[in-house]
Structures are given as C-alpha cells and as structure tokens.
Symmetry: C2
Subunit: 168 residues, 2 copies
DNA sequence: TATGTTACCATACAGATGTATGGTATTTTT
DNA sequence: AAAAATACCATACATCTGTATGGTAACATA
C-alpha cells in the first residue's frame, strides 16, 4: 500500500513535520514553494498529491493549511543530537551533531529547541538518568530562569515521556 | 493598558484558546463566525480588533489563521476537574465538575482530554502524588492500551510539569 | 440631549489559496 | 524502444480569507 517516498517527496514531508510539530501550524502551498524555491504552487500541489497517494499525509480539500499527518504514533523522525550535558553542570554544544535519535512524532518539538544527551546521574532524583535524551527549549519562560526539558528514554521499549520544567 | 474583555469578547478568546491549544491550529474568521452563528466575518473581525487592542492576542496581517495568543506563560485558564482517580484503581467521573484549576496555557490540552485529581499514593513511584492534577487524553494511542497523562503540581509554587505515558 | 461603546448586519475588494489543465525535460521501468 | 514515473514550469480560475467602509440598534455615560 504505502510506497517509498522519493528524495524530493521526503524532503517536503520533513518540512511538513517540522512545521506542524515545531511551529504548530501547517504551511500553505505558497509557504512550501517559497521554502524550496519553487516558482509555482502547482509543483508543490503535485508533490503533496503524490505523498498523499502514498499514505503519508491527508489533505482536507479546499481548506487552507488543511494538511494532516497520518503518521501520528506510527512514525519516528530522526533528529540530530547537538551535545551533551553533565546534568547540573554547564553544557557542551558540539559544532556538529554527535548522534541521531529516531524521535516519535508525538514529542512536539517547539522550534529552536534542540537535543542533548545527559551524562552523569546527578539529576536522577528528578528521574533523569545518564544516557537519556533531553529536549531543551531555550525560548520558554527564559525570564524565570527556567529550562523546560523533556526526557525521552530510548526508543519504543520503555515508552516513557516526561516533560518537565527544571530550575537551573 | 489591558482593559477588561466584554462577555462576547471573552467567549471568542476562549474559543481561540480552545482551538489553538486543543486543535493546534488557529481558526479562520469564517470558522469563528460559523461557530458563533454570525452571518458575517466582519463582525468577528471587529471583535478580534477589540481583543487585540486590549492586548490579548496578536494578529499577523493578511495571513490566514494568523492569530497568536500573547498570553503564553502569563495566563492561567480555568478548567473544570471532572473526577478523581484512586491511582491504580478504576476512576470515578462525576457528572458535574467537582473543582476548577487555573491551568497555565503552556499545558497543551488536546481536544477531548480532561482533568482528574489523584487520590492515594500508589503511583508515587511514578512521581504522581495524591492531590496532583492529571490530564488524560483518551485518544492518544488507545490501541496500545496506554494512557497519556500529564501531572501538574498545584499552581505556580512548585512549577513542575510532567508529561508521561503510563501503562495501565 | 449628545456622545461613546458594544454588537451586530451588508456589501465590496485585493490578495491568498487550493485546484485544474497542459506543457517540457529527465530518469526509470518495462 | 516504448511507456511510465518524476520533477519542474506556466497559466487560469473559483473560492477562501482578511480587510475596509458604512449602516442599524441597544445601552450606558457625560
């Protein structure tokens, strides 16, 4: 039923996921065309039709931004891990991604947020263990000096998903 | 600076919050007009202008669904608590709300989700204590027999926000 | 009484948006 | 070699969407 996506189609789908999960609101055809440098919305339209045909999205006809992901809870998006935190200590950000996780799309990633891997057990009281992947959103409530982190135990085995505000 | 909202304006703002937080995507003027039975989008437009003037929302001109809440992290929405759970045991749902919490708008409430108060300490290993408020989403991953809950310690004092999938 | 606010309506319009149709070029498959 | 799929383009169009303008009615305030 579901065929493989082509490279271009996959890029568009990634953009869709990025926008919907990150920004919260699906893009218009013009948005997508702009992003990929298409001079024409019809091109995007045809790609969306192809992607829909392959079962990855669903479109509500005639509705602006009427794109839905049909992948909820079935799909894992690879995301780069940008650095490591020795929990409690200052964090180290590497210029390049050091690793990659398949992140379930359930985990809404606000834009500008990034992933870090936790080192050390100094936060285990807060249920954050060494090796856990942490989602950090630098935008949320920076005034209060708080960081919002979400801890995701590896993959589908453990299936736990914490979201937590933490004092520095 | 910020004046009080009128009854109608407050209803519209509630609808906006409901859509944006619950459905994830802001409504169009037509959507709002439909919902409130207005035969005209201009009416909605004027209300939105009034609401914006009073500082509760921000609109991106000319953009479809370009409504943003300016209340993020500053605003607490009162939500009814529908029942209680003796953690681990079958839950009791009351016909009427038994209480109300001021819920920070950060806590995204998927549509159809509801609030329960936890009784008993049988889940304290999972960091859920008696008196905590739990957000239950009956739609998410029902196939796996899982419930997604988010634990919110009371109000602004503790400022912790867990979001967690739990096996029944 | 005059003025302002609130809450609707109707009409009109420019630009955004999704869609349809047809065309060209390249690559892949049969 | 022929057919199909892919990846773009251009043009056209109906509807959606936000916006502007003006009007009516109720009500409170000055």
């Amino acid at each position: 039923m579901k065929k493989e996506l082509t490279e271009v189609q996959k890029n568009i789908l990634d953009f869709l996921i990025d926008q919907i999960k990150g920004k919260g609101i699906p893009p218009t055809l013009a948005d997508i065309a702009d992003y990929f440098g298409y001079s024409n919305r019809a091109t995007v339209q045809q790609h969306l039709q192809a992607i829909e045909k392959k079962g990855y999205i669903k479109k509500s006809p005639k509705l602006s931004r009427g794109i839905e992901l049909t992948l909820e809870d079935k799909f894992f998006v690879p995301k780069p891990i940008l650095g490591e935190v020795a929990a409690g200590n200052p964090l180290t950000i590497y210029p390049d991604a050091i690793d990659t996780v398949k992140l379930p799309t359930i985990a809404k990633m606000p834009q500008d947020s990034f992933l870090l891997r936790v080192k050390g057990d100094s936060l285990k009281d807060a249920y954050i263990f060494s090796g856990d992947i942490v989602i950090v959103n630098p935008n949320l409530e920076p005034k209060n000096g708080q960081i919002v982190v979400a801890v995701l135990d590896d993959a589908a085995v453990v299936k736990r998903f914490y979201k937590k505000k933490n004092e520095i």
